[in-house]
Assembly symmetry: D2
Homo-oligomer: 467 residues x 4
């Protein structure tokens, strides 16, 4: 349980550190800019998300919510929201069938169709609509409904089943949703990648704001959030002493940078695997070794995947690991670690030490590895995710993006493309978080501002600036 | 729950990382050197302690155990030990009366009197016997039994009550214990300080080995243990983001050094308070600011006491803190934070957010502070204490000290004084932990060993070496 | 003196670590792609630059060179190049008049006019041509030559004088240069900013490649280079113990980040000043305090300017500093520290402790401050600049940019705009530096590459990725 | 050159940061406690030592000085002292013959014999007297003078030659010195080891105070001093980029800890070699790898010896190193690196890149290694040694030790044994350095002091405390 959430007569009194969201309520609450807007959210149903939801409702929105991960819901947070503020379809430990049922429920506003706006994390809500529309169009043309047996992917089978059943009930369901939708704001690298792919192939059905690439998201949530929550998850799940251990971090993007920094600072010797020579050179400059997984698989104690790619740690790697090696993933999807290969390995034995912490013993060697959160996001499965402060940065970006989409719903400003927030809004998100930490900014003089050709009030950097 | 403890036919199969204790069992188990020895232990009843207890029994001892802190017992560990290995008097959340009842039970072996050996942490078992003997002698001389009302100290009242009741039942009880006792090994700075005071005043009743000042204890458990378990406790209790915060560490001994390092590495700005100019200068050399508590009480976010002294953070300090400032203690005793002053502050309101995490709201300001573990050891109250690996170092020292006391029980080698373990045993403890971490030691040549005048096999350093 | 440079029959044998440049020679040397090209460079004439120059000549170019800073020339490097490879106009300790004379000489290739390509650092060579062209056009229109007295800026007075004298000798001199010029590659934030301003106002006279914003430049040279060379300069100039000191870093861009990291790691307590809330929040996340200069001017021991802006530390600040406070600049231009205000302060006394290290004593207080390199780049003035390895990254970008400009000289691919290098070339620069550090990259499988929609061989990241 | 030393009418005005020595002058200067005392010092003749010498003279002593290393003299410091304050026998780049001639001169006060007190660093002055006395006694008994040919050790040959020549001139010279001598204070691990060996064998001729093991020496000079001066020496000598490199630190005592910390913080990957399992475990807890030199000799870029032992890096190791690997020593004596083996390696070629930086090329492989300061203390040979602030701690211990010896010269308090300074003096040294860094100490209350059984004013720690 995070610090508690209490509802008082004057509104919910939060003990969570989310200064950006609190500032949004103060600034926008009175004018109810979301009046009339239906927002569906697919995002880890945690205590921080509860503050986001109540910020949206405080600004006038109606809200329905589901989680974007089967393990990440904090049930007390879901319950509080369900009681007071919004329709919630989420609980800790959903099956995949339940997960997609929740996503579908979250998007279904009854007779009137779907939401006006989507808050997405990983893109599953967006994907369901896109797949739904595609299937409906195929059905209209050919009379064929989607065939779940046409795919090997267990999860996609479920998606097709839901869509097939939907078509039977209402063959225009997803197209009606699409027609109503003003846009989506998406906050994860993985979801954003999907959006850009759809933009490139011309299949994106509505405008999207890429919140992930706000500096105050990608460089904060991904980096500082993981720097906090990776060791938190490791310690809660295993109580392992990190000092003295050899840790392998697969991927040295922002998430990998945060993980590697945390492990190094806790006294581990960190080895990085990378495909990108630039990121690899960055790792080297921090004193980290860059090798391939094969080089180190049998000598490391802790393995973390952060790549956003698939098939990173395969069962064949796991078989070669030391006894009680810890294997976990902090990337968005659960396909970085080959759980399917592990589960179907002949003779493998799974011993659940406690929820989200399993020891898998291989029959030949009798050695076992510890897998966290079944290969899903370990910081949400084994701990409480990122701390409120950093989520406040991310979610303030979400609120601002939703406001922007809603304000411009009829202006034609946003086409069926992917946009990032303008820099002055990104800087605003940061500024809202400085006071809490006691910082004092320096003010440019007019003459200094002219000299570097920026407005006194910002934005201060060109778009390509990397921070 | 830590990684689980399973009992198999071939002995308990531990998933905990305690290579030193495992090595002791391998080396000494077969010869049962503790055959005939009764060992009473007063030490946090955690999963790691379970491994210590079973190491002692594997070496032939009979064991009775209590915890040395009312919150630190892990109930599943206590239950496992009680079922399989030893008499246990400990549970999480004892009252003070229950705590001292447990301590007394742990020392009472029935008709035959007390234990042969004591494993102590903080010195409460040792204190009870010393106070008992003193009271019995007074009673024999003057007929006066201890008067609990003679002290203001709530806890000492309870001690006197127990002794008083003991004298009524058996006026020689504690003296019989003393007569049987071969010695105690003590592992905490606080307990060791008491022992040296008794040595100086000539009141120490039996030999004592100061395990705390083995390098592999004081420089490992205190330093690296706290570096791990302080942030662990903070995160589990509050989910606070440490990065960006101002943290005050009171005391810069080994415990303070570990805490300050952890907080700094997690991105906090750390301020140290110190009385000792040498430790203060060390803090400065690490880039930490050294100020008094008064200087920073109203601007810091996190306060940690590590001094081993009393009256460090008083209620008057707490009143001046920022809203939701976090206050906790990682020193042995609970008198570093003025809990009495806080509890009796007029109009103060306590809101339990979850067990071991309380928000105390002051009536004038309506601001509240978050106090962890009621001012007791926060790493044990809010997390699972130090990790197994570092406890393995400490406990291997305990086992070796107990072996030494028992082996020399009749030789007169140990007088009623405080001893530290010889350096070669300290080095042995370290050596037992290297393999697990993949280290390879360099060997001296004969000529090199002669050049620096040490044996090839060690010990390598003079007694005064500081590491 | 850096590790020596020896010329052997088979070419210059370098002891400097510049794997990227060596690889360029191996790859491109045989085909002499620069055959027929005249390259003028304005860039610190150090030993590393010598390797750059000889790489350009090895690829077939003719080269003329000047330094871009009056103090940064390493005379032995200049001498070696002058003897063996190129015309050099640079020495350590130029006057401003000499500096601009050198720049003009470097651009003047005799009868045939100017260079084909410019390698620029800070943009002074580019500026001279632009100002020259502007003046010539004005002269053609109005008969007016530039009036050095029209400006207060001492340096710009000199520029105008040179141009005025040039017009008298040849009123088409700079326009002929412009006509011949294929383009410039510029490597500093400051120079790039000027280029974008000219692009915006439509006054840019030829294509420019912004090498500064290659990741392998801005995130390496600026960050890791300064992390190395700031403490190097401080130690060589003053032998000050950094541990325990309070250091103020003005600006937390890449240069500031490198400086702050170095100072923190050396044991200083670091305070950052910033105008940009995003950078300020980044500083906080690293445990640094963010305040204004006014807040800390009288308590800090070391001040470093890194802003790229002007008027950062004024004489009024300096008067309030502690005795022997150290003040230095590592930003490109020397207008961050108010040297003019200091030099003209009534009664101020300058004591040169050694070259580039002056103590300035204020008459009222008799306290003095230590100013390094007269407010110019302290890492070049007081030490040897960035280490070769990091300069190899920067200069490999320069070589690749020059190759690209020259190859496309007639294709029309580059307009009078500012371009960055394509990402695959940026990645190539990184890749050329991995082998030296023993790194092994992971290879994507086809299926993984498809999953994240990148080619197996890269580029791996979208243009907006921030690293 | 360090910050300059100017002599004014009111005494020398130092720009060096040595608050402890300044405080000694303020406290003791007026009473001239050293009136009548002759002090001979054998200690690196640097600018900081100049401040030490002038502190001794300010307190009333007459002083003669030599350096304790052939490369460590800063000639301008020696010149200033020779001009103003004391007899100095030291210059940068002495031959070994010159070195021992200087040592002998420094001890020879003319007719009246030798010094009253010795300030020693490494123990060479002490050794010369002990060897001299031994030879004189042998000569008196047997008429035999020392035979330089009796030893293979080139340096000891010189010592014997000097003593032999001395005996011819005055066969009681060293015994007269011994008789006059009140005692020596010694500040290096190496010199202290010699003293304890003489104490054990009963051959120590006069009292000795072990200044090295003051906490404010061993934990400051050795640790923080080397953390500063190792990278300083590396950068000045080679300009190598430390980030990304593999560095091997031989030995993980205080010096090794400082070196490893500096290298790690600068971005190197650090590997430690150790003989002592406790130190090895400490290295592991900091995330460093512990291997043998043989394991890593061919993959590392930088090698540093810090052991205080001999024969650490042999020519056979050096032959296997990578091209341009850097090899250096920061331990007191020059026998850690096998310079003799290197110099006599058949066909080896030495190229002096600049003074104190040599490239040695092996004939078989044509690869070369860079050896700094000919294997002697690289921080003194290639840079300016430790910074003043940390030397102030060490030298304040020296002054206090000399005062103590002189005060007790007739009291019999000190026998022919080795002593450490009492803890309250150690704490005093620290306290004298806090103000400069802006620290504020906390004061114990009476009740707190009683609770932990220390005086309010200290000392605060037991003798065995390790800090």
């Amino acid at each position: 349980m995070a610090l508690s959430v209490e509802k008082t007569s004057s509104g919910r009194e939060y003990k969570v550190e989310m200064p950006g969201l609190m500032a949004c309520r103060a600034e926008f609450g009175p004018s109810k800019p979301f009046a009339g807007a239906r927002i569906s959210g697919s995002l880890h149903m945690t205590i921080q998300t509860a503050v986001l939801i109540e910020t949206l409702t405080a600004l006038g929105a109606e809200v329905r919510w589901c989680s974007c991960n089967i393990f990440s819901t904090q049930d007390h947070a879901a319950a509080a929201i369900a009681r007071d503020s919004a329709a919630v379809f989420a609980w800790k430990g959903e099956t995949l069938e339940e997960y997609w049922w929740c996503t579908e429920r979250c998007l279904d506003w009854g007779e009137g169709g779907g939401p006006d706006l989507i808050v997405d994390d990983g893109g599953d809500a967006t994907l369901l609509i896109h797949e739904g529309v595609k299937a409906e169009e195929e059905y209209e043309k050919t009379g064929k409904v989607p065939d779940p047996e046409s795919t090997d992917n267990a999860e996609f089978k479920i998606v097709l089943t839901i869509i097939r059943d939907g078509i039977k009930a209402d063959p225009k369901k997803y197209r009606k949703m699409k027609d109503r939708l003003v846009g989506v704001s998406e906050e994860t690298t993985t979801g954003v990648k999907r959006l850009y792919q759809m933009q490139e192939t011309g299949t994106l059905l509505f405008p999207a704001i890429n919140v992930n690439d706000s500096v105050t998201k990608s460089k904060f949530d991904n980096l500082y959030g993981c720097r906090h929550s990776l060791p938190d998850g490791l310690m809660r799940a295993t109580d392992v002493m990190i000092a003295g251990k050899v840790a392998v971090v697969c991927g040295y993007g922002d998430v990998g940078k945060g993980c590697a920094a945390a492990l190094k600072q806790a006294g581990a010797r960190v080895i990085v695997t990378e495909i990108d020579p630039i990121c690899a050179l960055q790792a080297l400059m921090e004193g980290l070794q860059v090798l391939t997984l094969e080089d180190v698989v049998s000598e490391a104690d802790i393995f973390v995947t952060t790549t956003g790619n698939k098939d990173i740690i395969m069962v064949d790697h796991m078989r070669k690991m030391k006894n009680n090696a810890i294997v976990c993933n902090i990337g968005h999807f659960d396909n970085e670690i080959d759980m399917h290969g592990l589960e179907t390995y002949p003779g493998v034995k799974r011993i659940t030490i406690k929820p989200q912490t399993d020891r898998w013993v291989f029959p030949e060697t009798k050695t076992g590895i510890i897998v966290l959160a079944e290969g899903r996001l370990m910081n949400l499965g084994c701990a409480t995710g990122h701390p409120s402060f950093v989520m406040s940065c991310s979610f303030t970006n979400q609120v601002i993006a939703q406001l922007e989409l809603w304000k411009e719903k009829s202006s034609g400003k946003y086409e069926k493309k992917v946009y990032v927030l303008p820099k002055h809004l990104d800087e605003k998100v940061a500024a809202l978080h400085l006071g809490k930490l006691g910082a004092k900014l320096t003010k440019l003089t007019k003459s200094q501002a002219d000299y570097i050709s920026v407005p006194i009030e910002g934005p201060y950097k060109p778009a390509h600036y990397r921070y």
